[in-house]
Amino acid sequence: MPAELHDEHHDPFEERFADALRDTGTTFATDQQELAAGGQARGRRLRARRRAAVAGGVAAVALIGVGGALVLPGVQGDGGRQRSVAGGRSSGQEDSAASGSAGSGASGVSGDELLRTFEKLLPEGKLSDTTGRGTADNPFVQGVYDDGRGKAAIALSLGLVQPGSQEAAQTTECPDRVYIAYDSCTGTKLSDGSALMILKGYEYPNKRSGTKLWRAELVTPTGAHVSAQEWNAAAEKDSPVTRAEPPLSAEQLKKLVAAPEWRAAAGAIPVDPRMTAAPSATTAHHGSIPATLARLIPNGVKVVSRSRSDDYEFGYVVVDDGRGKSLVQINVQPDMRDVEGELFGAGTRTLPDGTKVVRRKQGGEKGIAGIVMWTVDTIRPDGRRVVISAFNSGAQNTPATRQAPALTMKQLEAIATDQKWLKIG
């Protein structure tokens, strides 16, 4: 299955964003020679330290740990204009090269073995255009499945998550409708303690139209993560819809991901040592961003919903003052002094405690979606930045529902400068 064919502007925002990102990226200039020389000097020191460590009998792996697994992307973008059209770049040949170089252990499961399992577990039909990558390096299988009622792309990947971690929970939690439009989502616990989510959504989740993408995410109590995706087209993107719905029902998807074969294969995935590290000490505090925000919403304005605590520095609430919903989101970032000058320029006020405040109103009559965003950006003397934005809509994927956000600039500023944020993160 061609992973991504030439784009045909299915999502204009995605295209515009990619263009703007590339144009922004190319504005950065530096002395390349100096940078290269600095890199080489650092490499020499790194090598010297490594040799010294080996001589001293200490494992030197940690010094180069970040660059551990060798990954070979087929096409190296140059920040230039070419949108990749190399649909076939995930060829089996390349994948096996990548797997080989990552140094798979003897007990690893090959891409071909995973493909055979995949084919065996699928309901009766024909599987073609397959690709498989073994457990040594981000295992996955994909192909085009035809049950006689239309070709459909289908894929399954295996991974490990830390049991009980935020990531494990997030993987099987139905996504927030504030971000993603979908038809249905169910989260269940299986009898063995595994968490399962089945999401019936779309390839382009900002709108409920176009190619359908149905997903099943299963995380076992020991941290094996099995993820299956199926489309109602022969390729993920830019391929005509071949059938009304993806081929496997929710029940069949569940059966596919819950098969014990996958858990066995996941057991052969090399464990990333970082995964076994204790969660960061700060994690425990992050959960309170949406809760704190909800507490700071003024009386008379009702909090309709709020984000789950799934982001370290971000949260939101949806409020209603009786005249329609309004999304309010907040970022709490630990030390942003290095970009202070850029963020707090003209129009900045300094409060008696040294906090700098700037207000911005964006969007309005020229906006394509009629969305207005009011922002109060603040930075404490220690660099802690609290930036709050309110919108005249209750979700990012619905048009404006009211003239202005439900909170005034003054109210937003009172929230952003509240002392409670000093205890977060």
């Binding site: 992973a3 991504e4 925002f13 995605e14 964003f17 990619a18 990102l21 144009d23 922004t24 990226g25 190319t26 504005t27 530096t30 390349q32 020679q33 100096e34 940078l35 290269a36 020389a37 600095g38 890199g39 080489q40 000097a41 490499g43 090598r47 180069i64 970040v66 660059g67 990954v71 070979l72 992307p73 087929g74 096409v75 190296q76 973008g77 995930s90 981000n138 996955f140 990947s157 993987t171 996504p175 971000y179 989740p205 993820s227 960061s280 700060t282 370290y312 520095e313 970022n331 630990p334 290095d338 970009v339 202070e340 850029e342 964006q362 394509i368 979606a369 969305i371 965003m373 990012q396």
Partner: protein, 184 residues
């Protein structure tokens, strides 16, 4: 923080010690890696320089193997992404961050659409580090979901989720600004 390496160690070094071709590679790729790093850091050019030097240093150490396997440019990009994420992990808890650096203001030769550039960098800066890495790999490096997952040591499903969420936030933060954006 920043290395003040000066001009020493330029072209010509590294010959005959298993580093053939490394200086040329580093000189040719440093600019692109720097631009990637600037997007990853949301416009913090000093941190970007530091990350690129660290990346090139790591590539140097493993150059013999990397140059034999092929595609050192892709390898370096992966190392950069992981170096960035490791840096964020370390510094989000210790809060140790450079304070002596001066903010970057685009000069008159920055080109492009300066207000949009700032809006875009600010929007990137409001994403989590991992979401930003996904966005940069997908839309600046043109990597597929699978390739992005491999570079980030995560599953394709996790990348897909991050990508969708990041785009949704960016759409909200940038919608109007990009609505008027026409390629120069």
């Amino acid at each position: 923080m920043l290395e003040t390496s000066g001009k020493r160690g330029r072209m010509g070094q590294g010959r005959g010690d298993g580093h053939d071709g490394y200086p040329e590679f580093a000189a040719a790729r440093a600019g692109h890696l720097f631009r990637s790093a600037c997007l990853l850091t949301g416009g913090d050019t000093h941190l970007a320089e530091d990350l690129v030097q660290e990346t090139l240093g790591r590539v140097y150490v493993r150059w013999g193997r990397i140059s034999r396997v092929g595609n050192p440019a892709g390898y370096a990009q992966t190392v950069l992404t992981r170096t960035f994420l490791a840096h964020r992990r370390r510094h989000s808890s210790s809060r140790e961050r450079a304070t002596e650096v001066l903010p970057e203001v685009p000069g008159p030769d920055a080109g492009g659409d300066a207000p949009l550039r700032l809006t875009l960098l600010d929007a990137l800066g409001r994403l989590s580090a991992k979401d930003r890495a996904v966005v940069v790999l997908r839309y600046w490096e043109d990597r597929s979901i699978e390739e992005t997952a491999a570079a980030m040591n995560t599953s394709s499903a996790a990348v897909r989720t991050r990508c969708v969420r990041a785009l949704a936030r960016l759409r909200l933060l940038l919608g109007d600004a990009l609505g008027e954006y026409a390629r120069p």
